[in-house]
């Protein structure tokens, strides 16, 4: 287009500046093809940006929709059973008595027992990989193996637990003089504790590795031993991160369904001791959802799902908040 420009355009040749009047402005021929193409590009670009925004909104909508669905579906049970539902001690759908207390207790006991068993192991892995042996083939082996623990499907844990762990627990129960059922809260906790090791371990490892080395070196130069450095430098520094790891593990343990369902024994009675069979919220849903024939029964199960959802939401949001504050 520069070819079409007449001599009286603003030029800087020969150090002279010529001014052209508006009448003399050269007509620019629009290149129709490229104009069309750029128009198309602008349109597609706008469409693409909008699609991206829609995808972002979709995620938020999805979570809201899950929440709304659970709330709407549990209305019948909230209406007819009220808040006492959560404290009711008997669960007898045949008699239309619904009390979720045994399941709440079952869930809490299995999860916390699993946490107590798994914490020493996951912290050991975190310290082992973060502080003692951050590199090398053996560290890599441990790291990958622990991460693969999280990859094994929960139904396989359940099946393995049923075939290997339950007989072992039965032996223990016979030794201790409890009713030798094998299945029960203790078996469920053991399986859960294996399954949740990786969550706290991998988070803890990255936290331990983030401790500034000058802090550790300072402590070493004052004559501290490795254990003293771990106790008085690394542990206080990573406290919140380790806490977040525990929270995420807990969230995992609360919602775990299949493995627990297979080894917990599935009774709706209140468990008397940790070897007794019981039920968790997730396992009672898995067992009875497709059998629930009355609206209130079904809705009572969904209310359990709602409670489970809300609890895991709180746990995960708090956990992620702690992590993001730590990493910043």
């Amino acid at each position: 287009m520069s070819n079409t420009i007449s001599p009286n355009v603003i030029t800087r040749s020969n150090d002279s500046l010529r001014v052209i009047t508006s009448l003399q402005v050269p007509t620019v021929e629009k290149d129709k093809l490229s104009y069309k193409r750029s128009q198309r590009h602008i349109r597609t670009e706008r469409m693409f940006r909008n699609t991206l925004v829609i995808m972002g909104i979709l995620m938020v909508l999805l979570v809201l929709a899950i929440l709304v669905t659970l709330c709407v579906q549990s209305v019948p049970s909230i209406k007819s059973l009220g808040l006492s539902y959560l404290w009711g001690r008997t669960w007898d759908p045949v008699q239309d008595i619904y009390g979720a207390y045994p399941f709440l207790i079952g869930t809490l006991i299995t999860s916390f027992l699993a946490l107590i068993i798994s914490i020493p192991f996951s912290f050991a892995v975190a310290i082992f990989l973060g502080e003692y042996y951050p590199k090398g083939w053996f560290a890599n082996f441990i790291k990958n193996t622990v991460e693969l623990i999280a990859a094994v499907p929960s139904v396989i844990y359940g099946f393995w637990g049923l075939a290997v762990m339950v007989p072992a627990v039965r032996e223990i129960e016979m030794q201790l003089g409890y009713q030798p059922l094998g299945v029960g809260i203790f078996s469920a906790s053991l399986i859960l504790s294996i399954m949740i090791i990786p969550y706290a371990a991998s988070l803890g490892r990255s936290m331990v590795q983030m401790v500034p080395s000058n802090l550790k070196e300072g402590a070493y130069s004052l004559g501290a031993t490795k254990w003293e450095v771990i106790r008085s430098v690394i542990f206080p520094y990573t406290k919140s991160g380790l806490f977040a790891g525990i929270l995420l593990s807990l969230g995992r343990a609360l919602g775990e369904t299949m493995a627990v369902t297979m080894v917990i024994g599935n009774t709706s009675l209140l468990p008397k001791n940790i070897f007794a069979p019981g039920n968790t919220m997730a396992s009672v849903i898995a067992n009875e959802f497709t059998e629930a024939d009355k609206p209130v029964y079904l809705s009572a199960l969904i209310e359990l799902g709602l409670v489970l959802f809300l609890v895991t939401v709180v746990i995960n949001v708090v956990g992620k908040k702690v992590i993001s504050r730590f990493t910043k």
């Binding site: 590009h41 693409f48 940006r49 938020v60 099946f159 003293e228 997730a282 799902g305």
Partner: protein
């Protein structure tokens, strides 16, 4: 107050040994599970096992062909649904990291990642099973797709965020429109990370049972219709493992071995590929 140096060093060594022992013992359960399942499963797998459908209790033989086909179809559909949405959302989050919507969106993803799978199953039941009047494979696929989304989005986002800004700026400086910069430059550069995210997501949902209990439901016969109940590997394991019959236990062991091997293989593939491409996930 003086503790002898020997005592302190001893304490430190003791702690070190404790940590090493505990850390190494974490390997044991996985090894035990692997060995046990290989031992029980390897003898059950043969050609008939892979190509037949289960026989009634009492008859010898029978296989899990219906579950293999079903698993493949359900997870395949789930991947088809989740990949476009997940990758686009990941692009959005990596391009607009500071916007308000991105904050809410990524909070939603964090929540979604933590939602127990059984809850997803309930929700999918009310969205897709009840309104359409029956259990269907496609409802199972959608439930699994919801579970895949967080993994795919997070991996895409993290991978794309790691690409240097100069790449994006150079492409924009050449006058490329935004969508072409993303689709022709940014996404191909981060493709390995995105793909490994997808594989990881597939591995995560391939073994999920809970969302399928109320959606795909299971089917003792071979079915390829997405609108009908369909069998899948995790469901077969769950149903047969909790049954009292030994023939069914055998089927479940074989199915467990196949499922475990494929899930671990997918995980190992992603590990190797990410190490090769130096993309930290």
């Amino acid at each position: 107050m003086k503790t002898s140096i020997k005592f302190r060093i001893g304490k430190s060594t003791g702690f070190k040994i404790l940590v090493i022992v505990l850390a190494c013992s974490c390997v044991l359960p996985l090894m035990a599970i692997l060995l046990f399942i290989i031992k029980e499963g390897i003898t059950k797998i043969n050609w008939n096992f892979l190509t037949n459908i289960p026989k009634p209790v009492g008859e010898i033989g029978g296989g899990i062909a219906n579950a293999l086909v079903g698993s493949f179809i359900i997870v395949g559909f789930a991947t088809l649904i989740a990949v476009p949405i997940g990758v686009l959302c990941g692009i959005y989050l990596s391009e607009n990291a500071k916007s308000k919507l991105a904050y809410w969106s990524s909070l939603a993803l964090d929540i979604l990642q933590g939602v127990p799978s059984i809850v997803i199953g309930i929700v999918a039941y009310f969205w897709l099973v009840k309104p359409f009047g029956g259990f269907s494979a496609i409802s199972g696929s959608i439930a699994l797709a919801i579970m895949m989304l967080p993994v795919i989005v997070r991996n895409t986002e993290e991978t794309l965020k790691m690409l240097p800004d100069t790449l994006r700026e150079a492409a924009l400086a050449l006058g490329m429109p935004f969508h072409r910069v993303i689709l022709k430059v940014i996404v191909p550069c981060g493709l390995s990370g995105i793909i490994s995210g997808v594989i990881l997501a597939v591995a995560r949902v391939a073994g999920e049972t809970a969302p399928l209990l109320f959606t795909a439901f299971g089917n003792p016969y071979l079915s390829v219709l997405p609108g009908k109940p369909m069998q899948s590997l995790p469901l077969v394991i769950f149903n047969y493992a909790t049954s009292p019959y030994n023939e069914w236990h055998d089927l479940a062991w074989g199915a467990s071995l196949i499922l475990l091997a494929s899930v671990l293989l997918l995980n190992i593939i992603t590990k190797i590929s990410t190490r090769k491409w130096k993309v930290q996930l």
